[in-house]
Amino acid sequence: MSDIQSSEMVYIVDDDPDVLNAMSRLLRVHGWRVETFDSAEAFLEGRDPQALACLVLDVTLPGLDGIELQRRLLETRQSMPIIFLTGHGDIPMSVQTMRAGASNFLTKPASAEDLRGAVRQAMDEEKLARRARGDADQLKQRLAALTPREREVLEAVAAGKLNKQIAGELGVVEQTVKFHRARIMERMQARSAAELMRMAAKLAIGEKT
């Protein structure tokens, strides 16, 4: 349990109070924070979009059903890994949910091991996704901190131009370009020219538009 951070939250949506109660208890004793909802609508209302979370979701729900909720979450770009849990899941349904990006598909009654494994995996996916999202955000922030001249120089570097060419295009001496590059390396926190190139590629800088 030491591997589980208390910040990890599992949301469970099921219309059956007995099932909600049992699933919630099972995941809580394994160290997760759990919050339960008896409908998709209640979940959309009550969830915390910032929390590091995954969703255990019953397919058949009164009102908005599980598959519909999955689509809504994708549309709002506030996605989280979804583990579908259903009593009478059939193959077409699981294919549909998996294709739509479901993390897992379990049939009731699911064993604790399966459920724990699925939640663990979903949490790991979510962390990776968050890290990926976090890196991109950082780079964007650093890029925004560059001066317009530095941005021009970075674009030219990313396009593979030599210092001499850049100086010619910008109408400055080569020494000034070198100075700008040093500043850019510092501001973008790139440790080498190669890393800076990777960052530029990630930010889609220097490509012909």
Binding site: D18, V19, A22, G87, P109
Partner: protein, 605 residues
């Protein structure tokens, strides 16, 4: 040989024969009148014999010895004649009836004194009287005894008594009897008395004609008695004939008849009725014998039917079983009616019993076939609900598994939270009971059984039914709404069969809406209570029923669905009809169809 020696023995023999015949009949019928009559006739025969001996006496001593005997027998004849009229008419006055025998008895007392005789104070001689036809007879000569007046007074008293009793009988309606018996007794007693007085006085030279007179009386009385016998024989014959006809009718109809005298608790039953109930052919019966002949399980319903008939104007009508020696049963239909006195108190109950075993077997077979068909429909319908059934069971199983595994995890920890463990155990028990409940309800649907009537709350049944099918409805994205009446919603019915109908209608509605856009998939179930019926409506928003199919949907083996067997709605309708209700289908003005079940309220529980 002359007419006296021939006729007197004949008179005696005739009287004796009449007496013996009546004695035989009197003893057989325990008839006092006939018994008294026969006594009189036998005494009369004895008197004739004595009289003949007297007339043929050759000496004074011989004749004189017979006199007290003749007086005594004559007295007895008068006494028995009086008694006969008393018994036979029933209208005589007691003090008048006592007078003739008492007066005679007083006269006879004279005979008991030695040397004295009632008729003669002294006897002087005997002489032979020549009469007509060449016959002769002896008479005594002597001085008349005034005691003899008692005999004449006795005769007079008898006349007065008979005339009085006859007049009274005439007035109370027994005219024929009064005229023939009373008239004859009066006429011949009078004739005999006058004639004997004339003989005694020596005016008439013919023998005493008491024997003739009394034989005439005997014949009159006997003919009257026998008129009754003849009438009774005729009535008996008619009764026998009518009984035979009734018997024939009841045998032809295989019907037994019974009548129960309620006050005395005695039961009369025909042979057929006794046979049908397995009772002895002749033993006296009461209600308990009848009751004990019934199958124990049917006694209560019979008792209720009997109570109903006695306490109201209802006809008695009940069906019950009679166990037979070979372990089979005979089904009996018993019907009857209570007859009451002017104040309405039940006096007697008459009715018939009929063997309905064959009809009942056919009915039972038809009922079994029908329940088998219904059961088949139910099972095939449940087969289509597998998703819902799995869901119903998986929910509690998932909860139980989750709780049990949570408990295992808790037990692995250093500090075990006992309160949480307690909660887990409670939850598991509850969820297990829930699963058991699901299985119980399902197995009730799966089980093949006879119709079992009970009070059914339609709203509770609807809720349970919707629970059962909910998962399928949700899978099909069907939204279910209810509009339930606040009025009466309980009926008397078989809950499994009613649930079958509701399930079938809901599933049909769901099937109908599978092809329409999700937003239109609205199913409404409502109940309505009116003054005379309770209705359950299942309203869908599918494509509706083609007008030309509206009359066909309830036909067996007709289906609008490509894979439908066409038995669902036919079964639904037969179940509803078995509940005395109607099931109809109609299209809605705004699209879709409505199936409506209506149960008459007077059947409602």
């Amino acid at each position: 040989m002359n007419w006296i020696t021939i006729s007197w023995p004949m008179l005696a023999a005739a009287s004796l024969s009449l007496g013996l015949i009546e004695l035989r009949i009197g003893l057989a019928h325990r008839s006092l009148a006939r018994f008294v009559f026969s006594l009189g006739a036998i005494l009369m025969a004895a008197f004739s014999g004595l009289e003949l001996a007297f007339m043929r006496a050759q000496s004074v001593a011989e004749a004189a010895a017979l006199l007290p005997w003749m007086d005594a027998v004559m007295g007895a004849v008068v006494a028995s004649l009086t008694a006969f009229i008393w018994v036979y008419f029933g209208t005589g006055r007691k003090w008048l009836a006592l007078a003739p025998p008492i007066l005679f008895a007083v006269g006879i007392c004279a005979d008991l004194i030695p040397g004295l005789d009632m008729t003669y104070r002294s006897i002087t001689g005997i002489r032979t009287v020549q009469t007509f036809g060449g016959a002769s007879f002896s008479v005594l000569e002597g001085v008349s005894n005034p005691w003899n007046a008692f005999a004449y007074l006795g005769g007079l008293a008898l006349l007065v008594f008979v005339v009085d009793a006859s007049v009274r009988l005439w007035r109370s309606g027994g005219r024929r009897r009064a005229l023939i018996v009373g008239g004859c007794v009066t006429l011949f007693t009078l004739t005999a008395s006058i004639q004997s007085a004339l003989v005694d006085l020596g005016i008439a030279r013919i023998p005493y004609l008491f024997s003739w007179a009394f034989l005439a009386i005997l014949v009159a009385m006997m003919s009257e008695l026998n008129t009754d016998v003849l009438a009774a024989t005729k009535v008996a014959a008619e009764l026998k004939e009518s009984e035979r006809r009734m018997d024939l009718a009841s045998v032809a109809a295989k019907m037994g008849m019974w009548a129960w005298d309620i006050g005395h608790d005695t039961l009369w039953a025909t042979r057929r009725a006794r046979m049908l109930l397995g009772l002895s052919e002749s033993a006296a019966l009461n209600l308990e014998h009848f009751t004990n002949a019934l199958h124990p399980d049917d006694r209560e319903s019979r008792r209720l039917a009997l109570r109903g008939a006695l306490s109201s104007t209802d006809e008695y009508e009940v069906e019950y079983r009679v166990p037979l020696a070979d372990g089979k049963v005979r089904w009996i239909s018993s019907r009857g009616r209570v007859e009451r006195d002017a104040e309405g108190k039940p006096l007697i109950m008459r009715g018939v019993v009929l063997d309905i075993t064959h009809r009942k077997q056919v009915e039972l077979q038809a009922e079994q076939d029908r329940s088998a068909l219904w059961h088949m429909g139910r099972v095939s319908m449940l087969g289509q609900m597998s998703a819902s059934i799995a869901h119903q069971l998986n929910q509690p199983l998932a909860a139980i598994l989750g709780n049990a595994e949570a408990a295992q995890q808790i037990l692995r920890q250093e500090h075990v939270d006992l309160r949480e463990m307690q909660e887990i155990c409670d939850d598991i028990v509850r969820q297990d009971q829930r699963a058991a409940g699901v299985i119980r309800r399902l197995s009730a649907l799966f089980k093949r059984r006879e119709m079992q009537l009970e009070r059914v709350d339609l709203h509770a049944l609807l809720a349970e039914t919707v629970d059962l099918i909910q998962a399928d409805l949700m899978t099909d994205r069907i939204i279910l709404t209810n509009k339930l009446t606040t009025g009466l919603h309980t009926i008397h019915g078989d809950r499994v069969q009613l649930q079958q109908v509701l399930l079938n209608l809901i599933m049909n509605a769901a099937d109908a809406m599978r092809g329409v856009p999700i937003v239109l998939r609205q199913l409404m179930i409502s109940t309505e209570a009116t003054d005379n019926e309770i209705r359950v409506l299942v309203v869908d928003h599918g494509p509706g029923i083609a007008p030309e199919h509206l009359t066909k949907v309830f036909e067996p083996f007709w289906s609008a669905k490509p894979k439908g067997m066409g038995i669902g709605l036919a079964i639904c309708q037969s179940i509803v009809v078995a509940h005395h209700g109607t099931l109809t289908a109609a299209n809605n003005p705004d699209g879709g169809a409505t199936f409506s079940i209506a149960f008459p309220t007077h059947r409602a529980a």
